[in-house]
Each structure stands twice: as structure tokens, then as C-alpha cells.
């Protein structure tokens, strides 16, 4: 392995870990802010560090400190299986985290004949990895609920078990349809397949090629992440906190963070499989590399536009009402952030100019494209996370037998039908 290969491997591992872990506080904050904005409230917007509120995202870090410093309480009635009771949240958290590691953040780099995957785990059987590891997450929920020796927790665990038998089959079958369509079990190859066009003008995204399987995949992944409308393993109104009733402090925080990591992973899988992953529509990696100066030029125009819009929004909204006398350092924050954003934009412009006119290195070009793809990936990831959150605050919950009904009577036959048609079409086209 060359030095570049080692550097890329380490940095993509770090990127994957950071993307999975650092999004937790951001997602918790997004969840609370978006929920409140949907309900015409403001949400947490006061916590700050030296006057920097960043829209209130600091609140999540304060919450983490609170959970870390809380008393670790062990229910004394748990005599048997205490180690598994303690391990259960870790299983849920680790499974969601590990499942995220197989997602490609950018296209494979080709440097001096070496193909370097920009994945935290450079494996080419990502779909199987995701299905195998992602499914373990619910085991943590079931163990945790069962070993709590608590009726609410046991009910939550049995409901989680009922969820598994409802969604796992449609999930696997819908992914099988995608495997047949893309003819690969490699996430990266799936994204490359989707960078083409479909019917001559549509981007060949999974949602357009396989609409039915896409909907089944999205529904099953909503169920797998235990989010609304499929929150049954916990339910305030009927079974208190469900499977995590007896879990306190950091054990609870593990479940809590595991839920957000799972949501992040599900979003990543959805955008990788059906929304073109790190690609923007109609543009493949080769096109960007071959017409690098055009790509850089477009980037040089769009980045300042986006930053200008952001600054305009910030200047309008990072203020207090005219009726409030103290401004709590918001003007100062706006000023500092504006300068930081402008400096960042200027830096990007200078680098792109240098790359267009002076650098002839293909390595620099491909790294620029890689960084761009990572940014696109993160943007899509956040958009889909926001979709997850908006769905949660829109739709009421299903009852758990309704979910089984949905899974077995509608999703399973539909996914089987879809699989059948897909197989027929693929065999017909290839023969």
C-alpha cells in the first residue's frame, strides 16, 4: 500500500466515525428545533458558549454532559443476566454505528492504478454487511427489555420482536429487487449504476427505476429505526418508556443515541440505494473529472451564491425582536460567522482558481471531486434525516398488530410481486 492509500483509508475511517457520531447531537437538536417550528414554537435556542448559540445546537452538548454526569442506577431486582442488561444498549448502538461504516461517501479514487474506496470499511459486500449488522440492533432492544424484569419493558421487547417479523421480510425482499436491478451487492457500484440516465433523460435513481421497491424499502427502514409511525417498542401513553424503562443515565443515552445513529444509517442506506448516493443527478464522476474546469467554474459560481443566501438568512433571523432590548450577543455572533463564511468561500475560490489555471495534477482534481461528493452526500443525508423528522411530527402511530397486518398482507405480497416482475424484466432485457 502506498502512502496515499493509507492516508485515504485512515481519513475515510475517521470521516465515517465522525459522520456517524457527530451527527447525533446535531440530529437531536434538529429533531427538537424542527418539531417546534412545525408546531409554531421556537425550541431550544438559548444555550450558548461565549455568546455563540449556533441556533441552539449547543443545547445537545449540554444534554450529553447531563447524561454523563447522572447517577448510574442499577435496579436491584435484576438478579440474572445483569451483564446482558448492561450490554444491550451497547449492542443497539454498536450495530447502528457499524452498519453505517459500509456506506460510500465518495466514488472510488483511482490513483496510480490503485483503487481506493472512500468507505469507513473498504468492503465490496456492503448490502449484506448492512443487512446482517443492522438487524442485530433490534436484539439489543429485545435483550434490554427482557432482562429488565419489568412488565412494561417486557411488553416493549415483545413488541419490538413483533416489529422484526413484520418488517424484516419486506426489507430483505425489496433490497433483493435492487440487487437484481443493479446486479451488485456493492453500495458503491449501486451508486455508479445510478449516475447514468434512464429513458434518455431521467436520472437513473432507484426511486424512478424501482418505485414500488423504493417505497417498501423506505417504509421498512422507518420500521427498522423504530421511528414514527412505527414507534411501538416504546409508547408513553401505554407502556411508559417501553424496553428502556429500567435503563438510566448513560445506558438510556446509549439507546437514545442508538436511535439517532440508526436513523442516520437508514437515511444513508436510502440515499445510497435509491437517491443516487453521493452523485448529483445526470453527472457521473468521470464527467466531472474529464471536464474539471467546467465543474470548478460552476462550483465557483454556486458556492458564493449559497453562502450569500445563508448569510442573508442569518442576518434576518439571528436577531431578537424589536421589542426586546438586550440582543444577547447575537449581532456579534452574526458578524463572526459572516466573516468566517466569507473567508471560507474566498479560500475555496482561490483553491479552485489555482486548480483550474495552474495545477495539472489529476490527483488534486480527483481529491477535489471526492470532497465535493462528500459534501453532496452529507447534504443529502441531512435532507433525508429532516424528512425522517418531519414524518415523525406529522403522522400518528400505528398499533403493533396494524404494523404486522401492513407487513404481511401488503408489503410482503407487493415486494414478492415486484421481485417477480423485476426478475422477468432483467432476464428479458439481458437475453
Amino acid at each position: 500500500m502506498s502512502t496515499v492509500a493509507i492516508v485515504i483509508a485512515i481519513s475515510s475511517f475517521l470521516l465515517g466515525t465522525l459522520l456517524a457520531l457527530l451527527t447525533i447531537p446535531v440530529l437531536v437538536w434538529l429533531e427538537r428545533r424542527i418539531a417546534s417550528l412545525i408546531q409554531d414554537r421556537l425550541g431550544p435556542n438559548r444555550t450558548n458558549v461565549f455568546g455563540f448559540r449556533l441556533g441552539g445546537v449547543v443545547q445537545s452538548f449540554a444534554d450529553v454532559v447531563k447524561l454523563l454526569l447522572k447517577e448510574e442506577y442499577y435496579p436491584s431486582h435484576i438478579k440474572m443476566g445483569k451483564w446482558l442488561f448492561m450490554l444491550a444498549p451497547v449492542i443497539t448502538f454498536a450495530a447502528a454505528l457499524l452498519a453505517f461504516m459500509a456506506i460510500p461517501f465518495a466514488d472510488t479514487l483511482h490513483i496510480n492504478g490503485e483503487a481506493l474506496r472512500v468507505q469507513a470499511l473498504p468492503i465490496d459486500f456492503g448490502v449484506f454487511w448492512y443487512l446482517a449488522v443492522g438487524a442485530i440492533g433490534v436484539l439489543g432492544v429485545i435483550f434490554g427489555g427482557w432482562l429488565s424484569h419489568n412488565k412494561y419493558a417486557l411488553l416493549g421487547a415483545s413488541r419490538a420482536g413483533s416489529m422484526v417479523i413484520s418488517y424484516e421480510l419486506p426489507l430483505g425482499l425489496s433490497i433483493l429487487a435492487f440487487i437484481i436491478t443493479y446486479d451488485t451487492i456493492d453500495f458503491n457500484a449501486m451508486v455508479q449504476w445510478q449516475s447514468g440516465v434512464f429513458f434518455g433523460f431521467l436520472p437513473a435513481w432507484g426511486i424512478l427505476v424501482q418505485p414500488l421497491a423504493s417505497i417498501i424499502l423506505i417504509v421498512s427502514l422507518f420500521a427498522e429505526t423504530n421511528r414514527n409511525p412505527f414507534t411501538v417498542a416504546e409508547g408513553e401513553s401505554e407502556i411508559v418508556a417501553g424496553y428502556m424503562t429500567e435503563h438510566t443515565a448513560m445506558k438510556f443515552a446509549m439507546y437514545f443515541m442508538g436511535e439517532y445513529v440508526a436513523m442516520n444509517t437508514a437515511s444513508a442506506v436510502i440515499i445510497t440505494v435509491i437517491f443516487g448516493g453521493y452523485q448529483i443527478p445526470w453527472v457521473s464522476t468521470e464527467m466531472m473529472l474529464q471536464n474539471f474546469s467546467v465543474f470548478a467554474g460552476v462550483l465557483m459560481i454556486t458556492v458564493p451564491l449559497i453562502v450569500a443566501l445563508l448569510i442573508r438568512w442569518m442576518r434576518k433571523n439571528n436577531t431578537v425582536r424589536p421589542t426586546v432590548t438586550t440582543d444577547s450577543g447575537r449581532n456579534f455572533e452574526t458578524k463572526v460567522l459572516t466573516i468566517a463564511l466569507l473567508a471560507m468561500t474566498a479560500l475555496i475560490e482561490v483553491i479552485l482558481l489555482y486548480l483550474i489555471f495552474f495545477a495539472e495534477s489529476t490527483l488534486a482534481n480527483s481529491i477535489t471531486v471526492m470532497l465535493f461528493q462528500i459534501v453532496v452526500f452529507v447534504a443529502k443525508l441531512m435532507m433525508f434525516n429532516i424528512f425522517f423528522i418531519v414524518i415523525r411530527w406529522t403522522v400518528p402511530r400505528f398499533r403493533y398488530d396494524q404494523i404486522q397486518h401492513l407487513g404481511w398482507y401488503y408489503l410482503l405480497p407487493l415486494s414478492l410481486l415486484n421481485l417477480f416482475i423485476t426478475a422477468l424484466v432483467v432476464v428479458g432485457v439481458s437475453s
Binding site: 424542527i34 417550528l37 412545525i38 408546531q39 409554531d40 414554537r41 421556537l42 417505497i215 438568512w313 434576518k316 433571523n317 436577531t319 431578537v320 425582536r321 421589542t323 426586546v324 432590548t325 438586550t326 418531519v390 414524518i391 411530527w393 406529522t394 403522522v395
Partner: protein
Amino acid sequence: MNKNITVIPRHGSSLKDKLYLPAIYDGVKVTFKHFFKNVSDINAVDTLEYPEEQPTDITERYRGLHRLTHRPDDSIACVACFMCSTACPSDCIFIEATEREDGHDEKMPKSFFIDTLECIFCGYCVEACPCDAIRMDTGIFSLTGSSREDFIMDKEQLLSHKGAFGEENSCARD
């Protein structure tokens, strides 16, 4: 069929309802509308930025913190009849009576304590008072302190509270 019975049509049996997805689409449209409206102008969200912005909609009938009223010549209106402490369901009013020397009535409170931590702000003391001596029209809705003793209002504190809605003196004593 009895004509008093109204038959409500049951919804949810059409294909569109059974698909769920159109309904979810409609719901998401509503939530996104609220979200984008609020995110584009955060200061227009109809909430109170509480400590900086104070409520302006406290009405005359709002039961705020108690006060003891005065007579026109600034002496205390209370005659220490114990009606309020008798009516009080949470037993938070403590009165000690003494003889009155200023020529108005026979009795006045020597001490008058209200434990606002016990108080449930029901307003029965105001209803019971024959002299219009205790009122809850101060408009004070927030009471803070750093110890429990800070919340026990004595006679001087209660007399120092001002009525927020114009009527300053007792209407039943002159």
C-alpha cells in the same frame, strides 16, 4: 329507522385512504408549510420570548400575588376578623390580631403572613374578606426567591404591593 339517528359515513374504505401515502403526503404538506413559514422568519413565530418580553394580556380578573389594601388615609384596611384564614383551604394565612389605636375600628393585624409556597391562589380569601382588605389584583405572576423564607410574605410586603388595575384603596372601608 328512527329519524333521531344520524348515520355518519365511515371514512377510510376507499383505495386512496387505504394506500395511506396520499394522506401522509397531505400531512407532510401541512407540516412543511408551517416549517418553511417559521424558518424563513423566526421572529414572526407567535411565542413570548419570556424573560425579555413580559406578558401583556393579564386581565383584571387574573389572580396574582396578594396585597393588603389601604384606607384613604393610608392606614390598613384589615380588621383582623380571620375570615380569610378561615376560608383558606390550604391554611397558609397566619394572622395575629392587636388592638387598634387610630380610631377606625377595634382590631387590626399585628402580623399578617401568607406562605405563598402553600397558597394555591384560589382566591377564597378575597371572596371571604368583608372589608375588601385583601386582594389579588397585583398582576404579579412570578415570584422568585433563594430560600423558603423568601416566599413567606409579611404584612409590610403585602401592604407594599400596588394594585395593577387602578383601584388602589379598599372599597369597603373609609
